[in-house]
């Protein structure tokens, strides 16, 4: 009789230890609020960049883009591109446990990542000056280069869909 009471009690304690230690270990790897914020901001910022770039693309595809429409969009991309590097603190990769497609290679290859990001900012600058020139061919080619800058970084540092 004694045994039959004891056994469940032991099981209960054992399961509580398992649950508690599981919770603790999760607590240990959970991201700090700063990391979570950085990931959120970089997602939001990239989405704005992507949205602005898509709108430029939609205009360029017509063959006669409206300068008044695409100029502020290109300025927006340039402004946001310079903010973007602030949103990649160490620890904000896949190890954060947060929802992110950022690969660990970003931090393992910081120099290359920064270089690619620099090229992205330069491409955004070139698109802005192309738009100022008003020449459609120049705008189209600058717009392509900016897209390729996005792609070169995504191919290497963003987890595929």
């Amino acid at each position: 009789m004694n045994l039959s009471v004891r056994r469940p009690a032991v099981k209960k304690i054992a399961s509580r230890i398992v649950i508690a230690s599981t919770l603790l270990s999760f607590g240990a790897i959970a991201a700090t609020p700063e990391i979570t914020d950085a990931i959120k901001s970089r997602r939001a910022n990239y989405k704005e960049i992507g949205g602005a770039f898509k709108s430029i693309n939609d205009e360029v595809k017509t063959g006669s883009p409206l300068i008044d429409t695409i100029q502020p969009l290109a300025q927006e991309i340039l402004k946001r591109s310079s903010m973007q590097m602030n949103f990649f603190p160490a620890g904000s990769g896949p190890e954060s446990g947060e929802k992110t497609r950022a690969k660990a290679a970003i931090w393992a290859e910081q120099d290359n990542f920064r270089k690619l990001h620099q090229e992205f900012t330069q491409a955004a600058e070139q698109l802005n000056s192309a738009i100022s020139s008003g020449n459609v061919a120049t705008i189209t080619s600058a717009q392509k280069s900016l897209g390729m800058a996005c792609k070169s970084c995504h191919d290497r540092y963003r987890e595929a869909d």
Partner: protein, 235 residues
């Protein structure tokens, strides 16, 4: 095109061949096989120009098949192969696991729904592709300018999911064909190539085949609809 298509291929004197699939259905079927493979390959290789053209072709064929399902030959029509639950359950219980060639001239009640599922998935897939946007903002479907970046990305993600659904449906389709070949001893592939199957017993069912010109006109209409959409409403 006549229904009387007796050939010396017959295995027994009692067996005759019955024409069940017209040329448009067979051409549609094998074109889709090739186009799905090409669509997958062009996407993998990031040849999005090609991917778009392949998509327009698939959409044209799907539209044609929907029209052919209303105005085509007997076995191509939805009214012929879309069955209610009672007939499907009846087929499942009494015919599916019987080790004999089915007495259906055309899709059986279960297979009919498999066709609907594949057509539906392909239609949805091409429509989603029209609005899809890639992550780099370089490539997009011709109608993506009508939607936001977020919506375009969602369309692309579902486009990806539907492809996997399509693969599952194709796998099921192939498993069913193998099941018919080796369990029921019926060769569905040769029927889809030659257009005819062995037919035992009399009387032979009446299968009506409209003139080829009707298929040509309906195909031209489908192609024109896709062309106008892309050329005049797309970017």
């Amino acid at each position: 095109m006549t229904t009387d298509n007796r050939k010396s291929l017959d295995v027994s004197p009692a067996a005759t061949r019955l024409k069940i699939w017209d040329m448009p259905v067979r051409l549609f079927h094998w074109s889709i096989v090739a186009l799905i493979a090409m669509a997958w390959w062009s996407a993998e290789q990031r040849q999005l120009d090609w991917h778009r053209y392949i998509g327009y072709t698939v959409l044209t064929l799907i539209l044609f098949r929907l029209l052919w399902g209303c105005f085509g030959s007997t076995t191509a029509r939805f009214t012929h192969f879309v069955s209610g639950p009672k007939r499907v359950i009846d087929y499942f219980r009494n015919d599916l696991f019987a080790r004999k060639i089915s007495a259906h001239h055309g899709h059986n009640p279960l297979g009919g729904w498999s066709v609907i599922a594949m057509l539906g998935a392909m239609l949805l897939q091409t429509l989603l592709g029209l609005f899809a946007v890639d992550i780099d903002g370089i490539e997009s479907g011709p109608l993506a300018y009508l939607v936001s970046f977020d919506t375009g990305r969602t369309a692309a993600e579902i486009h990806h999911l539907i492809f996997n659904l399509l693969l599952a449906l194709i796998a099921l389709h192939i498993v069913a064909i193998l099941f018919y070949r080796f369990y029921k001893n019926e060769n569905l592939v040769s029927a889809m190539i030659l257009g005819s199957k062995h037919w035992h017993g009399e009387p032979k069912p009446m299968v009506h085949f409209p003139p080829a010109l009707r298929a040509v006109v309906l195909f031209a209409l489908s192609a024109a609809a896709v062309f106008v959409m892309v050329k005049f409403f797309g970017r």
